[in-house]
Amino acid sequence: MLKIKNLKADIESKSILNNFNLEIKPGEVHAIMGPNGSGKSTLSNILSGKKGYDISGEILFENKNLFELETEERAHKGIFLAFQYPLEIPGVNTNIFLKTSLNAIRKARGEKELDAIEFLKLVKLKAKELKFDEEKLNRQLNVGFSGGEKKKNEILQMSILNPKLSILDETDSGLDIDALKIVADGVNSLRKKDNSFLIITHYQRLLDYIKPDYVHVLMKGKIIKSGGAELALELENKGYENFN
């Protein structure tokens, strides 16, 4: 599904990612763990098409060159990024935002756009599954939401948009244990043989609830070790400092 070959990324001639390689097959869950400044967020930014990086190498998504696609076209193809810091957009109603984005994606895929009633039905269902307070959906997007609510809102969006590849950028940071469980349940319910996940995190605790197929350790812009779920525990015990 996703193939990253020899990815190199610089920002203002500072090297962030270097010789980065990764392959994710349909249905797999990969976790990337790394300390602050290892290049985790840069990876999610580049996958989603954020501008401002000097990039070389290759990224293929379902055998298409990702660099030829604009951010929204990547979204249409099924890439979803749960942001580390979800943005506030004043004045824009959350429901309207969700409907606009769902229909933009459906339209691009040649599917029928949902009308208001169909959409509300879908949202109600998903919100209930994720124990998301429906009343919040009538508020301005992320404005006045707590950190946890913002993250849950990302997962709600993910479950409504039903992407092929979901990238969770430190979705666990700032979540209490209850919220963490809800987020994990949301992810697990989306796990199907065609859907893949890339979970980017600093800590191991989210991986207690979402069991990854592969764990990669990212240091100084490079994957230095890959392994199964047990690698995360080893990392937690040793700490990044002593790990090598």
Partner: protein, 478 residues
């Protein structure tokens, strides 16, 4: 790289011209032309005298020059002050007799006039160049005593009301453009809501400039008698032309005791092309008088058109407990310029005013909010709240906020807030990651920015306005 969709900009939807035979007054501004207009409108002598008084006054007035957008000198002798479709020179008795070309024009503008296609719940007065060509739902309104007709008709049929209120809010000596309008105004709408009547439908005037080298000088007068309510909408468009055309209207509102007037404008005059050639000069004087106690006047405007917009819909809060409101969205793109805002003059006790202004500038355009809040020493216990937000797109445009705040009353409070911001790269990225293209994303964010104002518009207009907000900014994101 994404191609800019500049092409779309050329696509001013209302830029077509109607090929129709006109009757015109000779070019130029003089006594004879004013007499011509007055005669064409079959006006009584007192009206001609009034016009002449304004004309005399005009001779000693100078054009104001304190506004930010400067414009080339206007040659007032090189303008036609009166232009009417020949077929309308004798006003048709019914809409069915109207020139099909005119019917077609309004249909194309989305304002069907024929009985069977009329917009639900909205009565329309259609003004084409210098004359009102049709007014719909007149009979239905008559049943409840609401007078809704062209002002030229009101001058003949309701002289006592016109005499009493015309110029009572904007004196004919007010300032250059208001005085010019008083001398040469051609048509516009007249509304009278009798005591205690809640007008059963929205009233609307649709202004269309068609003829070239012609100025439009309409005059609107709305009187809400004691305890009445009316919501009035104004829309405007013009063909695309290389020349600049002058539109200098006067709008006067009078609200008596316990009456309320809600006045909404969606202004979409031709803004000129992407190089700033052509477009309308929209120099309009709009003022409302809250004459009675507990009266309320609320202005809502969405200004997206015109080469230069220069207007300050204002409220004079004379009656105790009266309320003035101003909600505005102004968008400039390419080389458009706008200097707009409001004046809230608090004279009565316990008066309240609220100003919400949202300015968006893109391209090479320039936007100024200019406003006055004046609380006189007699206006005890009065309040004003003002919020002015500007959004800039790119660093070739400008945003200017110039509020004048005068408080002479210790028991009154004025609060003013202003911010300037931009659409952040992060917000755009976030929306794009959710599948929106950059223009949809900008449209969404800008509509969010404008929400408080859009909410004030009647439903039928709000949808239109939201679309307009998106279209106006096309080509402004790279």
């Amino acid at each position: 790289m994404r191609e800019k969709e500049i092409d779309k900009l050329k696509d001013y939807k209302y830029g077509f011209t109607t090929d129709i035979e006109n009757v015109r007054a000779p070019k130029g501004l003089n006594k004879e032309v004013i007499e011509y207009i007055s005669k064409a409108k079959k006006e009584p002598n007192w009206m001609l005298d009034w016009r002449m008084k304004a004309f005399e006054r005009l001779k000693i007035l100078k054009e104001p020059n304190w506004q930010k957008p400067k414009y080339p000198k206007i040659d007032y002798q090189d303008i036609y002050y009166y232009s009417a479709p020949k077929s309308a020179s004798e006003k048709p008795k019914s809409i069915d007799e109207l020139d099909p070309k005119l019917l077609d024009t309004y249909k194309k503008l989305g304002i069907p006039l024929q009985e069977q296609q009329r917009l639900n719940g909205i009565a329309v007065d259609a003004v084409f160049d210098s004359v009102s060509v049709a007014t719909t739902f007149k009979d239905k309104l008559n049943e409840v005593g609401v007078i809704f007709c062209p002002i030229s008709e009101a001058i003949q049929k309701h002289p006592e009301l016109v005499k009493k209120y015309l110029g009572s809010v904007i004196p004919l000596t007010d300032h250059y453009f208001a005085t010019l309008n008083s001398a040469v105004f051609t048509d516009g709408s007249f509304v009278y809501i009798p005591p205690g009547v809640r007008c059963p439908m929205e009233l609307s005037t649709y202004f269309r400039i068609n003829a070239s080298q012609t100025g439009q000088f309409e005059r609107t007068l709305i009187i809400a008698d004691k305890g009445s309510y009316v919501s009035y909408l104004e829309g405007c468009t013009a063909p695309m032309r290389d020349e600049n055309q002058l539109h200098a209207a006067n709008v006067e509102l009078v609200a008596l005791d316990n009456a309320e007037i809600k006045y909404s404008t969606v202004q979409n005059w031709y803004p000129g092309d992407e190089n700033g050639k052509g477009g309308i000069y929209n120099f309009v004087t709009k003022r409302g008088l809250c004459k009675g106690i507990n009266s309320k006047i609320s202005w809502t405007q969405v200004e997206t058109g015109s080469a230069i917009t220069w207007k300050y819909p204002s409220c004079v809060l004379q009656g105790d407990n009266s309320i003035g409101e101003f909600y505005s969205i102004a968008i400039t793109n390419n080389y458009q310029k706008a200097d707009t805002g409001t004046k809230m003059i608090h004279l009565g006790k316990n008066t309240r005013s609220k100003i919400i202004s949202k300015g968006i500038s893109a391209g090479f355009s320039d936007m100024t909010y200019r406003g006055l809040v004046d609380i006189s020493s007699k206006a005890k216990n009065s309040r004003n709240y003002t919020q002015c937000d500007s959004l800039l797109m790119g660093n070739k445009c400008g945003a200017h906020t110039v509020p004048y705040i005068k408080n002479k009353n210790p028991e009154s409070n004025i609060a003013h807030e202003a911010t300037t911001s931009k659409i952040s790269e992060e917000q755009l990225h976030y929306c794009q990651q959710r599948g929106l293209n950059p223009e949809e994303a900008v449209g969404l964010i800008v509509n969010g920015f404008c929400k408080e104002v859009l909410q004030q518009l009647p439903m039928e207009f709000a949808v239109e306005a939201q679309k307009l907000v998106g279209i106006s900014l096309e080509g402004s994101v790279g």
